[in-house]
C-alpha cells in the first residue's frame, strides 16, 4: 500500500518535472532568436527518500523517490566568451581606424584630378606660362590666381582634417565641441553600460545559481560585457555567483555591485589647466584633444587615473582617441596633417627664397618696362602671426596664405621673374628675362631636403600613397578580424544557441515521459481501486 501510494506520488512528481522540462523547452524555443540567449537544459536527477539503509531490498525500493530537477544548466563556454570579447574590442579599434582612414582617403582622393595634386599641376602650368611671358600682366595675374587656388585648397584640406579630429574628439578647447564629438557619445554610453553591469551583478549575487532566473541574468551580463568590450578592451574576472569584476589596464571599473571606476572626459585645455603645475596648451601638449580620466563615484569621485588615454588603446574609444595623434610609422589624421604642414612650409620656403634671392629681380611697378631689385621681404607665401603681422615662420597648411601685397594694384609686378647670376650682366630693361621662373619651374624635379629628399609633387603623392596603403592594409586587417569575430560568434551560437531539432527531440522525449508517467499513475490508481474493492 505504502509502495503504491509512493509510486502514485512519484508519478505525480514525474508529471510535474516533465511539465517543467517542457516549459524550459518552450522558453528555449521562444528565445531562439533572442540576442545573447544561451540555451538552457533541465538536468534530471534521481530523487532518494531517506531510509535506504543497509542492504535490505525493501528498504532500498522504499527509498526510490523518482525524479527531480537537479538544475537548469545554461550552455556556456567562458573561454570562447573571453576570446570573443577580446577580438571584438580589436575589431572595433580597427573599425574606428578604418572609419578615420576612409574619411582621410576621401580628403586625399585625387584620382579624378582634383585636390592638392591638381592645384599643384595648375600652379606649375601657370609658372610655365609665366616663363613664356614674364612681363605679361595676364600671365602674372594667372600665376597669382593659381597660387591662390593652391593655398585655398591646402587651407580647406587642413580644415577638413581638423574637422575630422574635431568630429572625433572635439577641438581640444571648447566644451561644446567636445560634447558634440563622437567620443563624448561613446563615453556616456560606456558609463551607462558600467552602471547596468553593476546592477546585474547585484541581482546575480542574491540569486541562486542554476536557476532560470540566474541563467537569464547571466545572459544579460554577457550581453553587457560584450557591449563594454566594443568600447574598450576589458579584463573580466568572476568573483561571486556569476557577478564579475571588470578592469581596464589594471584599474577596476566595476567590482561586484559597485561602479568603482567611472569615466570622465574633459578637453585637453581644461586638463592642462587643471594640472599642477599647469601645462601650457597647446604648445607643451602633444596628446589628444580629449582626455579621459577614471574617477571613483564610491569615494566622492576621487580621481583614480587622471589621464587614462594611454591605457585606453582598444575598442571604439581607443580607436577614436588615437585616431588623430601623429605617431611615427602610423598613418592617421595626425600624420596626414603633419605631412601637409611640412609641404606648406616647404612650398613657402622654396618659392620665397627664389623670389627674394640675390640676383632676382621683379618689375618696377612705377615703370613696368623696367626691372628692380626684389626687396628682401618680397615673399609669395606667408602667414599671419598672433599679432597680425606677416611672417614666413610657422606656416602650416591651415594658415598658409598669399602675401597680401600681391593683391594690391601693383602686386602682380612683385613676382621676381628675372635672375642674373652675374650682377654685371644686369640690364634693367630685361623684363623678358625669365630665368628665375625657370628656376621655379625647376623645383618640379628638384629633390628637397625638407621633404625627405622628394620633390614637392612627389612628397604629396607619397603622402597620398601612405594613406592609401594604410587604408588598404587596415581594410585587409579589418576583413580578417571581422572574419575571426564572425567565426567566434558562429561558434558561440553553435555551442550555446538554441537548436530547433534538439528542442523538438527534447519535447517529444518529455512528452513521452509525461504520457508514460500518466499511464503509470493510471495503473497505480487502478491497483488502488482493486485493493479498495477487495474487502467489498
Amino acid at each position: 500500500m505504502a509502495s503504491l501510494l509512493s509510486s502514485l506520488n512519484m508519478t505525480a512528481n514525474t508529471l510535474s518535472v516533465n511539465e517543467k522540462a517542457i516549459s524550459v523547452v518552450s522558453h528555449n524555443v521562444a528565445n531562439m532568436n533572442t540576442e545573447g540567449y544561451h540555451k538552457q537544459r533541465v538536468n534530471f536527477a534521481t530523487r532518494n527518500i531517506a531510509g535506504a539503509i543497509g542492504d535490505n531490498v525493501n528498504n532500498q525500493i522504499r527509498a526510490n523517490g523518482g525524479v527531480m530537477i537537479a538544475n537548469v544548466m545554461r550552455y556556456n563556454d567562458e573561454y570562447l566568451n573571453n576570446y570573443y570579447r577580446e577580438q571584438l574590442s580589436h575589431l572595433n579599434t580597427l573599425d574606428q581606424q578604418l572609419d578615420t582612414i576612409g574619411d582621410l582617403a576621401s580628403i586625399f582622393d585625387d584620382l579624378e584630378g582634383e585636390g592638392i595634386d591638381a592645384a599643384l599641376s595648375d600652379f606649375y602650368e601657370a609658372l610655365n606660362n609665366l616663363n613664356e611671358y614674364p612681363a605679361s600682366s595676364t600671365a602674372r595675374t594667372n600665376f597669382i590666381e593659381t597660387a591662390k587656388t593652391l593655398v585655398s585648397v591646402m587651407n580647406s584640406k587642413s580644415v577638413e582634417l581638423e574637422q575630422l579630429t574635431t568630429k572625433a574628439l572635439g577641438d581640444g578647447v571648447s566644451q561644446e565641441s567636445l560634447e558634440n564629438s563622437k567620443i563624448y557619445q561613446q563615453f556616456t554610453a560606456l558609463n551607462d553600460k558600467l552602471t547596468e553591469l553593476a546592477d546585474v551583478n547585484r541581482a546575480l549575487m542574491v540569486t541562486q545559481t542554476g536557476t532560470l532566473e540566474a541563467n537569464n541574468l547571466l545572459d544579460k551580463r554577457d550581453l553587457i560585457l560584450n557591449d563594454i568590450s566594443q568600447f574598450v578592451d576589458i579584463d573580466v574576472e568572476e568573483i561571486h555567483n556569476g557577478a564579475v569584476r571588470v578592469s581596464i589596464g589594471g584599474v577596476d571599473l566595476v567590482r561586484g555591485a559597485k561602479v568603482v571606476g567611472e569615466l570622465d572626459i574633459q578637453t585637453a585645455k581644461s586638463y592642462c589647466d587643471s594640472q599642477n603645475p599647469p601645462i601650457a596648451y597647446p604648445d607643451d601638449w602633444d596628446g589628444e584633444n580629449a582626455v579621459i580620466s577614471i574617477i571613483n563615484p564610491e569615494e566622492e569621485n576621487k580621481v583614480v587615473v587622471a589621464n587614462a588615454n594611454s591605457i585606453i588603446t582598444e575598442g571604439t574609444l581607443g580607436g577614436l582617441l588615437h585616431s588623430a595623434t601623429a605617431v611615427d610609422g602610423e598613418t592617421n589624421a595626425g600624420t596626414a596633417m603633419e605631412g601637409l604642414n611640412t609641404l606648406a612650409q616647404a612650398i613657402a620656403d622654396i618659392f620665397n627664397e627664389l623670389n627674394t634671392r640675390e640676383g632676382a629681380y621683379c618689375i618696377n611697378p612705377d615703370d613696368t618696362g623696367k626691372l628692380m631689385d626684389s626687396p628682401d621681404d618680397n615673399f609669395l607665401f606667408v602667414t599671419t602671426d598672433e599679432n597680425g603681422n606677416i611672417t614666413t615662420n610657422g606656416i602650416t597648411a591651415g594658415n598658409i596664405q598669399l602675401n597680401p601685397d600681391l593683391f594690391t594694384t601693383d602686386g602682380i609686378w612683385n613676382i621676381s621673374c628675372a635672375y642674373f647670376e652675374d650682377g654685371a650682366n644686369f640690364d634693367e630693361n630685361a623684363v623678358g628675362n625669365a630665368q628665375n621662373v625657370a628656376a621655379m619651374l625647376g623645383t618640379r624635379n628638384t629633390k628637397q631636403d625638407a621633404l625627405d629628399g622628394m620633390s614637392i609633387e612627389d612628397y604629396y603623392t607619397s603622402l597620398v600613397g601612405k594613406i592609401a596603403s594604410a587604408g588598404s592594409s587596415l581594410q585587409t586587417l579589418y576583413d580578417t578580424q571581422s572574419a575571426v569575430v564572425d567565426g567566434i560568434e558562429t561558434k558561440i551560437k553553435d555551442a550555446t544557441g538554441v537548436d530547433l531539432n534538439e528542442e523538438l527531440v527534447d519535447l517529444v522525449k518529455y512528452q513521452t515521459a509525461y504520457s508514460a508517467a500518466a499511464q503509470v499513475f493510471n495503473i497505480c490508481n487502478a491497483c488502488l481501486d482493486t485493493l479498495m474493492t477487495l474487502g467489498g
Binding site: 584620382l111 613664356e132 611671358y133 628675362n433 625669365a434 597620398v464 558562429t490 531539432n501
Partner: protein, 367 residues
C-alpha cells in the same frame, strides 16, 4: 559541444555568407558602372599612386606640347624674318658691289644712297618686329623697341647684347629641358653708332662748314651756347649746320655695313672720293661676314626647330603610351569584369537560394 551546430548558429553563418556574396557582387557592380577598377585610393594603393603620377605626367606632356608648338611658331617667324633680312642684305650688297666699281656718276650714287638709307629703315622695322607682344630681337629686353635711329643717323641697339649670357628666352620642352628660342638684334642685324667727340670736361664737340671746332656748353637753365674752341668767340651760324665731330665709330653686322656704305657714298658725294671708295670696299667684307652670321643663326635655329619636331613626336609617343598605361591601371577590363560580375551574381543567387531552402528545414516539418 565542439561539434554542436545550433539553428541560431546556422542562421548567423548563412547571413554572414550572404553578406559576403553581396559585398563582392556590389564591388564588381560598382567597378562596371563607374568603368574604373580603382574607385577609392585605398582599393589599390600602388595603382592609385600610379594613376596620380600618370595623370600628372600627361598634364606635363600637354604643357610641353603647347610649349613646343608655340616655340616652333615663334622660330618660324624668326626664320622668316632672317630670310627677309638676307634678301635685303643681298640687294644692298649688290648695290655696294655696283657702286664700288667707281663707274657710277654722282646722280646714280645719290640714288643708291637713297635706296640704301631706305633699306636701313626697312631693316630696322624688320628688327623691331613683335611676336606675341614681345620684341623678337630684343634679347631679354622684350618690352622696349630694340632699334632706334637717332637724329644723327645712329642705329642704336637697345636690346640685351649677345655677349650678355642673360639675353636668352627659353621654353621647357621636356622635364627640366629648356630650349633657347631667341637670338639678339646685334647678332643678326648689328648696329652703327658714331660716338661724338667730347672735351676733357665732357662738352660735345662739333665742326662748322669750314672744319673749325665748335664747343657746346649747357647753361644752368638748360639752354645751349656754342663757341669756337680756338679763340672762344661765339659761333654765329645756324646750329643745324654744325656737324658732329666723330671720335670713333662703333658698328657691326648688316646695319653697320649698310650705314657705312651710305656714309662712304656721302663722302664721295662730298668730294672725299678716295677715302669714300676705300671705306666702300671695306663694307664688302662686312656684307660677307654679316651674311654668314645670319646664315649661322638660321642654321642654329633650324637645328632647334628640328629638335622640337623630334620632341613633338617623342611627346606624342609618350602621350600614347601613358594614356594606354593609365587605361590599363584605371579602366575596367570589361570582358573580365562582366564574367566576374555574372559569377558573383550566380554565387549570390545560389547563396540566397540555399539559405532560403535550408532555413526552413527542421524536425518541425516531420512532426
Amino acid at each position: 559541444m565542439v561539434d554542436r551546430v545550433s539553428t541560431s548558429g546556422k542562421y548567423a553563418q548563412l547571413v554572414a555568407d550572404m553578406q559576403q556574396n553581396l559585398i563582392n557582387y556590389n564591388r564588381i557592380t560598382a567597378q562596371l558602372t563607374s568603368g574604373h577598377k580603382v574607385i577609392n585610393i585605398t582599393d589599390d594603393p600602388i595603382a592609385a599612386v600610379n594613376i596620380i603620377n600618370t595623370n600628372r605626367q600627361l598634364g606635363q606632356i600637354d604643357t610641353f606640347s603647347t610649349n613646343v608648338e608655340m616655340a616652333k611658331s615663334e622660330l618660324s617667324a624668326l626664320d622668316d624674318l632672317m630670310t627677309l633680312a638676307t634678301g635685303y642684305l643681298s640687294s644692298a650688297w649688290d648695290r655696294a658691289v655696283q657702286a664700288s666699281n667707281q663707274t657710277y656718276g654722282n646722280d646714280s650714287l645719290e640714288a643708291i644712297k637713297v635706296e640704301i638709307d631706305e633699306t636701313i629703315k626697312t631693316m630696322v622695322d624688320l628688327a623691331n618686329t613683335e611676336y606675341n607682344d614681345n620684341y623678337i630681337f630684343g634679347g631679354a629686353n622684350t618690352k622696349i623697341t630694340p632699334y632706334t635711329i637717332d637724329d644723327n643717323g645712329n642705329i642704336i641697339y637697345n636690346g640685351t647684347p649677345y655677349d650678355n649670357p642673360d639675353y636668352i628666352r627659353q621654353t621647357e620642352v621636356a622635364d627640366g629641358v629648356f630650349e633657347v628660342i631667341n637670338t639678339t638684334g646685334d647678332r643678326v642685324f648689328g648696329y652703327y653708332e658714331a660716338v661724338q667727340e667730347t672735351t676733357a670736361d665732357g662738352k660735345n664737340v662739333y665742326t662748322d662748314a669750314d672744319g673749325r671746332r665748335v664747343i657746346e656748353t649747357v647753361e644752368a637753365d638748360g639752354s645751349k651756347t656754342y663757341a669756337y674752341e680756338d679763340d672762344g668767340t661765339a659761333y654765329a651760324g645756324d646750329v643745324a649746320d654744325l656737324k658732329v665731330s666723330v671720335a670713333e665709330e662703333n658698328y657691326s653686322g648688316v646695319l653697320g655695313a649698310m650705314k657705312l656704305l651710305s656714309n662712304s657714298i656721302q663722302m664721295i658725294l662730298d668730294g672725299d672720293t678716295e677715302a669714300g671708295y676705300e671705306q666702300m670696299n671695306a663694307t664688302l667684307d662686312m656684307f660677307d661676314s654679316s651674311m654668314r652670321m645670319i646664315t649661322e643663326e638660321q642654321t642654329k635655329f633650324g637645328g632647334v626647330y628640328n629638335r622640337l619636331e623630334m620632341t613633338t613626336s617623342t611627346l606624342d609617343t609618350n602621350n600614347t603610351n601613358l594614356t594606354a598605361y593609365l587605361s590599363e591601371i584605371q579602366d575596367v577590363d570589361l570582358t573580365t569584369a562582366i564574367t566576374d560580375w555574372y559569377m558573383a551574381q550566380y554565387a549570390y543567387q545560389a547563396s540566397l537560394q540555399v539559405s532560403s531552402a535550408s532555413m526552413g528545414m527542421s524536425l518541425l516539418n516531420y512532426l
